[in-house]
């Protein structure tokens, strides 16, 4: 099987070997310089007593709770809009997709200008009377996370929109025509035809969006460095920090495994749920 050799070799060296290393090192204390020391379940016990771990877990949970509904619903509405048979609709699709192909670093830097104390967002919100005073979004603990949720959702909305769009284009048009003849308005058609028929796509998006939300990292790294006061420190960022700033490799690995277990459990549960409901309709 000469054709498969390169892929299998890479699979073994860069996926299976690291995976085995991860499991093994989770039970060791290791700082790269000295030899690993066996600590049994010590790393996992340490997590239980580590307030920063719980903060990170809670923050990642909050990212998930905030981003999942946004990324499941908003892109669906966008997809319905850009699926309309209008002239020039492709231009809108391209514009909505633009943040997806741009580096998160570029996006984060661009939003820094938007979030500036005398930036456009503060001008807009104070002019509309939503805010009395300009806010330093990235420096206030209460504002930093919503700000990052906004940036992350803004960046990936177009991606999920395209997935929905592929789904929408697979729905036969005569279904809508029949519903229209029966007097169903646009909203009713969305709820009673589009959404049920898009269930497989929704299932995929729930899993992908959850993975995205639980792994928020680059925006945190560039915009807040986990601050202010750990308000945006996600699990991914904490793992990076422990491994590559404090060289606490064993502990970081153990947390990585916990993150992985959470992701797998979440994907399985949500996949079962959405598929299960599909079977009953």
């Amino acid at each position: 099987m000469l054709f498969l050799t390169p892929a299998l070799l890479l699979l073994a060296v860069f996926f299976l070997w690291p995976a085995a290393t991860a499991v093994q090192l989770a039970f060791f204390e290791y700082d790269i310089v000295s030899d690993p020391v066996w600590v049994g379940l010590g790393n996992f016990q340490r997590m239980l007593d580590d307030p920063r771990f719980w903060t990170a877990l809670r923050n990642s949970g909050l990212f998930l709770a905030a981003m999942l509904p946004i990324l499941v619903c908003v892109p669906l509405l966008l997809a319905v809009l850009v699926n309309m048979p209008l002239r020039g609709i492709k231009v809108f699709r391209v514009m909505y997709y633009l943040p997806v192909v741009t580096s998160m670093v570029v996006v984060a830097i661009a939003w820094n200008y938007v979030f500036h104390q005398r930036g456009i967002l503060n001008w807009l919100l104070t002019t509309l009377g939503v805010l009395d005073e300009p806010v330093q979004y990235l420096l206030e603990p209460g504002w930093a996370m919503p700000a990052l949720v906004l940036v992350e959702s803004w960046k990936s909305a177009g991606y999920y929109m395209m997935i929905y769009l592929a789904g929408l284009q697979s729905i036969p048009r005569d279904l809508y025509e029949a519903a229209e003849m029966d007097g169903a308005g646009p909203w009713q058609r969305l709820v009673w035809i589009t959404t049920p028929l898009l269930r497989p796509y929704i299932a995929v998006i729930v899993v992908l969006a959850a993975m995205d939300a639980m792994q928020v990292f680059t925006s945190v790294f560039v915009m807040t460095q986990g601050g202010p006061q750990d308000a945006t420190m996600t699990l991914g960022y904490y793992i990076y920090d422990e491994a590559f700033r404090r060289f606490d490799i064993g502990y970081a690995n153990a947390m990585g495994i916990v993150l992985w277990l959470i992701l797998v459990a979440f994907s399985m549960v949500s996949y079962r749920l959405t598929r299960g409901r599909m079977a009953t309709t």
Partner: protein, 272 residues
Amino acid sequence: MTLTRRIAVYGVLSLIAIAFVLPFLILLTSSLKPANQPLHEFPPALVPLPPVLDWFIEAWTTIDFPIYLWNSLMLEVLTVPAYLLVSAFAGYALARFDFRGKQFIFYLIVSTMFLPGEVMLVPRFLVVSQLGMVDTFAGLVLPGLMSAFGIFLIRQAFEQLPSELFDAAKMDGCNHWQTFRQVALPQVRPTLATLAIFGFISVWNSFIWPLVVLSSEDKYPLALGLAYLKGTFGDDQRSMAAGTVMAALPVIVFFIAMQRHFVEGMKGSVKG
């Protein structure tokens, strides 16, 4: 659709478009504003008066921008062709050959999608350091060459080819290699193009892995270089904006030129 409804829909579409484009626009105007025009003010001024290229020149000459650019281009050249080859080889074998353990290998490859990059970050770094590849382009490139997404997409393309094609190749006396190279590969060119585009963009934007693997600043690709500059160069927001625009522009232009392939690629990836 009535005219009023049509206008209303265009209005909504345009408002959303502004929300998606405005941050980029602000970045662009910030990079073009002359020194005596404030960057941030109420109400915001979106037009540079007059536009100047000073900050682009500054970003190009006084910071290491050309080096980062060169590194990103090098990475593209090293990664994308190899990525296509690995994917095409594996996809072809999984689509066209029968052998023991094929299902198992396929599921093993697909299961790597559930090993997200961030979870693998630390252990993969340890493996790369054991291989002596820390701070090298090899350590940067090799782990990304095997991608379940790429293999999956191209396997699908090979499966859709009619079997008559392969029978004919056999009758003409082609061996496996010739069949692959001269018969099958040219047929899946659109899929290869899609993969190349996705590969190009993901290499251009790669950040976390270079951040972990590289320690010398003169090896940084663009995205990492920008993040690094933001730390050291943070006060000079104008040059920063200019550097960011230069880093983003190639990929945006590339995307707009190639956008047709994107939609096809997205459709293919969901069908699976």
